[in-house]
Symmetry: C2
Subunit: 439 residues, 2 copies
């Protein structure tokens, strides 16, 4: 032990649910190991929780119902915010930063939607606002993007960043089950909330993607420009056709820096089954990142859970503690990875992206209508890479088409024209395909 | 840009081969992006190279043949060591540290075998000796272990950490080719050296494993206690039998902290084909790490190559530059992750490890000998999980056995007894199996 071991770092925890309680428990379980690494112990001296009964907790921390008691306590050096939501959380975090306390948060919505307001407060007060646990749970992806890959220009990243959605798609693929059916099971298992919108419609993933895109490309947080599409329309039929074509369907968050602008989009995506990312099943998360020097690196692990998320929360605390012990107050790392952001980089509308597409077109007569569909696609400058067309003994059968790269708005035009054909019997299912261009 | 942008960080590069040259090139290619992140430019002011012709290089750096010119130059703040080997490299690095310069090295042999001598010199002089690029090329695994997972007690890690070996095993598996045959191709492709010993016999992997085990468990570097076994004995037949049993054969470096002591071992290993690690093919690297809080996380990417390795070298440089710009001289992170090492943790001999085993036993008469083999295993407390025994129309046929967990020395005894049987016609092939216990 060095001479600093007499000091302890004073922590306050606001919100004592799954992640807050998990972080407290982790400090107890691994306290000795953390002391060995850090040369200093971490002491929880304040907790704010509305439901906590102090008698149930082995701690000398002062417990109150009001989070402002924690952020205004003079002895607290680092505040862990695990309350979630915006109100009163935004003000709790703002006040903590204004009081000169470092803040560690697991709140992806807060960072993605209001980080642009909070980071300047942190900067003015020379304190850290750390958020490793807000993206992909226990996977240290923020550290990888901001520090480990700092010598790279990041070209793109693509991630499975919602465990609930990936669990549902995995079950649908493995057992040919319907979306609604698996969703109910996910809710029973506790993987999905009673209101599953945040997970299955991609909002949770869009929060995480917004944060990763910002530090990858050095752009401001722009959650409202992130295109979001959920997985509730995916059918076992689509998963089966994708498989025939050599693909799996994953709900991906994709950020890409192109000559025309930045793409930020969350949607179901066909990816080659040969890719490691396609093999990430169940509730796991994984992020594939392409840097212009390193090439592609992949980070995989648990994206949720009390202990896994606490692992990332306490890693942030340890980083800040090491900085504090070195006598440094101002964060060494710019909060979003860049000191000079690329403010001029525009985020593209989804109509302006260019990618490949999977189309499933319900038709009454396969043979008759194929020529018309081909002609429409050709008129829109869209070329066909593969087709599945089978005469089945049912009245309505699908034609499945895989296109080469095309601009989305041309595809929109083509789909509208295809849906207007007499022999097309319903809406066209369109799923984007991602080839990644890293080899 | 902030006010510090006028300053530049002064760099010296010792050794201008693949990685040294690649690091120089990367600073040129991504100089603007690095300036945006760091708020300060990085200037190469000295280069030591025996072969370099200054006229061929667009730089104002002073070039000399003697690396001591670089480490003794007063203006140099950070030395990149990419000379390789021990002599004169050890002395070059020692001198640089003694001169108060930070050192960034890609030299895994130097760190693994002589790090215990060099880190104290770094500490005495309050400078960094950084080595991210020494393990798994561009994958930021040192940062993940030392910082990202710092809140965990690391239970074990297992990695594909030699791209050459993994390329050879992948080719053997995909195309049923012989080891020697693929090795020649790997040499032609430049993946393997003319003397492939370092790669295929596991010495290179053992260097990397030694380093990872040290920072994972907080133990001194102990390369000479790392058990090392190569892949040259693996046959397409073994790969085929493993496949039948649901496994793939990978050359893994495994470190595990058990009640009895620390395991550090590099050897061919059967792993379930369902695991992501089993799907890492070709020259890629991947490390699976299990922490007691986070569970299992996996890090995958290119383990070699000029640009990928340079990505890690320059990431270390950026970390040190950020520290320097913050006015901190002493490293924030303990070099090997712990301030108080677990000095008492003993490394186990390979005879004392416990795992599962694959055995291929060449026999003259399958039916007659199986009972005797079963009896020997039973006497040694080894139970059988699965058996493949087929009567073939050849004189010598193999019996393949998968065992449950057993202590290695008991297996050694059993193998000696089995090889002594009359109907056993040759040496028993033994490959360890790894189940990972993380689910």
């Amino acid at each position: 032990m060095n001479s600093e071991s007499a000091k302890s770092i004073k922590l306050g925890i606001c919100g004592f649910g799954t992640v807050g309680g998990g972080s407290f428990a982790l400090l107890q379980t691994n306290g000795d190991e953390i002391l060995r690494r850090l040369g200093c112990s971490i002491e929880v001296c304040r907790i704010a929780s509305r439901s906590l009964n102090p008698a149930n907790l082995s701690t000398e921390a002062r417990i109150s119902a009001d989070p402002f008691d924690v952020v205004n306590a003079p002895e607290v050096e680092i505040v862990i915010e695990t309350m979630g939501g915006f109100d009163p959380t935004f003000e709790v975090v703002r006040q903590a930063l204004a009081n000169g306390k470092h803040v560690v948060t697991a709140n992806k919505a807060l960072i993605a939607e209001r980080g642009n307001e909070l980071f300047p407060v942190a900067e003015e007060n020379s304190v850290n606002l750390a958020y490793e646990s807000s993206v992909a749970g226990g996977i240290p992806i923020i550290k990888a993007l901001r520090e480990g890959l700092a010598a790279n220009r990041i070209d793109w990243l693509a991630g499975i960043i919602n465990g609930t959605g990936n669990f549902i798609l995995t079950e649908m693929a493995d057992k040919q089950r319907q979306f609604e059916d698996v969703l109910v099971e996910a809710q029973e298992l506790g993987y999905a909330e009673a209101d599953p919108t945040f997970d299955v419609e991609g909002i949770d993933a869009a929060h995480k993607l917004t944060i990763m895109a910002s530090i990858a490309f050095g752009i401001p947080l722009q959650f409202n420009k992130t295109y979001t599409e959920g997985i509730s329309q995916i059918t076992p039929e689509d998963i089966g056709f994708a498989k025939q074509l050599g693909y799996r369907i994953k709900h991906l968050g994709i950020a890409r820096c192109t000559d025309k602008g930045v793409q930020m989009r969350v949607h179901p995506t066909l990816i080659s089954r040969k890719r490691l990312l396609a093999r990430v099943d169940g509730v796991g998360n994984a992020i594939l990142v392409h840097g212009n020097a390193v090439g592609s690196t992949l980070y995989n692990g648990p994206g949720a859970g009390a202990a896994a998320t606490a692992s990332a929360v306490i890693a942030d605390v340890i980083d800040i503690a090491r900085q504090t012990l070195a006598g440094v107050r101002k964060p060494l790392q710019p909060a979003l990875g860049y000191l000079a952001m690329h403010d001029g980089l525009e985020v593209l509308n989804i109509e302006d992206i260019e990618t490949e597409y999977y189309l499933r077109i319900p038709v009454n007569d396969v043979v008759g209508v194929m020529a018309k569909i081909s002609s429409i696609l050709q008129d829109c400058d869209i070329s066909i890479e593969a087709v599945i067309q089978k005469e089945l003994n049912t009245k309505t059968v699908p034609i499945v088409i895989l296109t080469h790269r095309a601009v989305e708005k041309k595809l929109d035009t083509a789909i509208a024209a295809i849906e207007a054909l007499d022999d097309v019997s319903g809406a066209v299912m369109r799923i984007r395909v991602e080839s990644f261009d890293d080899e």
